[in-house]
């Protein structure tokens, strides 16, 4: 659950740990799949799926939500989890029973060549996760000229803004990453009418960097953020949106 920072910060909602969760706080070349729920239902579903992803790829997985999700109450249905064929655990330390060689679980590779090979092996795993595990929602993007990018609670506020703007004749839409790593770069190939991207976050602009990479110079990328536990209002977001499309004229 992300709260306002840095340091002890505060205890109100934030999305300022995007870097920490998608870039990692540990040493070495590693990646961690990160789910970003936008509702309590999704938090439940994603938590179930996170265990399977962790099991399937043998990797830590994060479910990262803004503090709003952590403090909210919503009705939840505990559905049967999506079925996934999980691999055998022949590596597990279950006791040899004297019938097999000991299993050793470690991450220590003192020989640089061995460690490089290990990194290459991990990179293959991360490529597989990037190819297979990305999740996102496209909301009214088919004809959207202004495409918001937002996740978590912020995406729900943005959806209201999309509706308001559409009522006023502005063709707005939303890309909502449900996994923030792997980031849904391919979603940006599915927005044929886009003229402007507007990233909205409860941070000083962290996912923004992924959106800029996704745009890769194709469209202007703008940013609107509130921090420290302040939650973006529909009015604030809408004001920024009008400024952005005004600037695009």
């Amino acid at each position: 659950m992300m709260r306002g920072g840095p340091g002890l910060g505060g205890i109100q909602p934030s999305q300022a740990d995007y870097f920490m969760s998608t870039r990692g706080g540990g040493n070495g070349d590693y990646r961690t799949p990160v789910f970003a729920p936008a509702s309590i239902q999704e938090a439940v579903d994603m938590t179930m799926e996170a265990f399977d992803v962790a099991d399937y790829y043998r990797t830590p997985v994060m479910v990262v939500a803004d503090g709003m999700i952590g403090q909210m109450m919503e009705p939840v249905e505990f559905k049967a989890p999506k079925k996934r064929e999980l691999p055998a655990k022949d590596w597990a330390t279950t006791g040899t029973k004297g019938e097999r060689k000991p299993n050793i679980i470690n991450s220590l590779f003192l020989d640089p060549q061995e460690l490089e090979d290990h990194n290459f092996k991990l990179a293959e795993k991360y490529a597989k996760i990037e190819a297979n595990e990305v999740q996102y929602e496209m909301y009214k993007t088919e004809d959207a000229e202004l495409v918001f990018v937002a996740y978590g609670t912020t995406s729900r506020i943005v959806k209201n803004v999309v509706e308001e703007l559409r009522a006023e004749g502005v063709k707005a839409g939303l890309i909502r990453p449900k996994t923030i790593w792997p980031f849904p770069f391919k979603a940006f190939d599915e927005i044929p009418a886009v003229k402007n991207l507007l990233t909205v976050e409860m941070s000083m602009g962290q996912m923004l960097e992924d959106v800029q990479m996704a745009s890769n110079g194709r469209w202007p990328v703008s940013f609107y953020g509130r921090v420290g536990g302040m939650i973006p209002t529909p009015q604030g977001i809408k004001g920024k949106a009008l400024e952005v499309i005004g600037g695009a004229k």
């Binding site: 330390t93 279950t94 006791g95 040899t96 000991p102 679980i105 470690n106 220590l108």
Partner: protein
């Protein structure tokens, strides 16, 4: 020809990397012998520390984990709670256990985790090159205390066994040494009791083993054994601090 001695099945055939005269080898062997004698080797999962014994996972002939610095009791807790019927142990040095891992060992003991810790105390950081540890004796020289540990500046060494024995969850706590054949035998007996405590589900068990570090103490292996007896034993008295067999006895 009759076999009069055989290496324990509890150790692999890997050649250890320990320095000449280091007592890790003895402690490995008696731990492995105990696991073999209790007939639990095939049901045992060990957790190695960071430090000199980091490669212990190559030496013990059972399933092994390596944990991050000081975190062995946390990893062992996870393993034991998934497999309550298995035998789970950590093997940790004083740099690992008494410094960065102080919180883990205290809380594993407080929770009464049914794991066994073999705690090797040689009063110094070995692997990293002889720095002062939380267990370094007052006045003892270390690379980071070239004039000897100054208690005014660095405080006092931690007596881990005494500290843990105040916790109700720590069912078996004993300090032993491996400086003489007699003490090696006593150490092995304590290690066996510690594992039995776990097998009987009575709580956390730890054996603190006073050990030598000839390399970083700058002493001949034999002089190291003498130094241990003359300097470590007065500060770290041998003996049992907690034993479920003795609980409830009038003292």
């Amino acid at each position: 020809m009759a076999v009069v001695f055989k290496k324990t099945q509890g150790l692999t055939d890997a050649q250890t990397h320990y320095c000449p005269g280091c007592t890790h080898g003895i402690i490995h062997r008696i731990t492995a012998e105990v696991l073999e004698e209790l007939g639990v080797l095939g049901e045992t999962i060990g957790v190695a520390p960071v430090g000199c014994a980091v490669l212990a996972y190559n030496y013990f002939n059972c399933d092994m984990h390596e944990a991050a610095h000081g975190r062995a009791p946390a990893v062992a807790t996870g393993v034991k709670r998934i497999f309550p019927d298995k035998v789970v142990f950590t093997y940790q040095g004083d740099g690992d256990l008494a410094s960065i891992g102080a919180a883990e060992i205290v809380h594993a003991a407080a929770r009464g985790e049914k794991i066994t810790t073999i705690f090797v105390n040689n009063a110094i950081y070995g692997m990293t090159g002889g720095q002062m540890a939380p267990t370094t004796l007052p006045g003892q020289k270390a690379t980071t205390a070239p004039y000897g540990r100054d208690v005014d500046h660095c405080g006092y060494p931690i007596r881990v066994s005494e500290m843990l024995s105040t916790l109700t969850g720590a069912a078996f706590v004993e300090r032993v040494s491996v400086n003489t054949p007699a003490n090696v035998r006593k150490a092995k007996a304590a290690i066996k009791k510690a594992f039995q405590t776990q097998l009987e589900g009575k709580g956390f068990s730890i054996v603190e083993v006073l050990s030598t570090c000839p390399t970083n103490w700058g002493l001949h292996p034999l002089d190291s054994l003498k130094w241990l007896e003359e300097n470590m034993m007065p500060y770290y008295p041998l003996g049992n601090f907690r034993d479920p067999a003795k609980e409830g006895e009038v003292k």
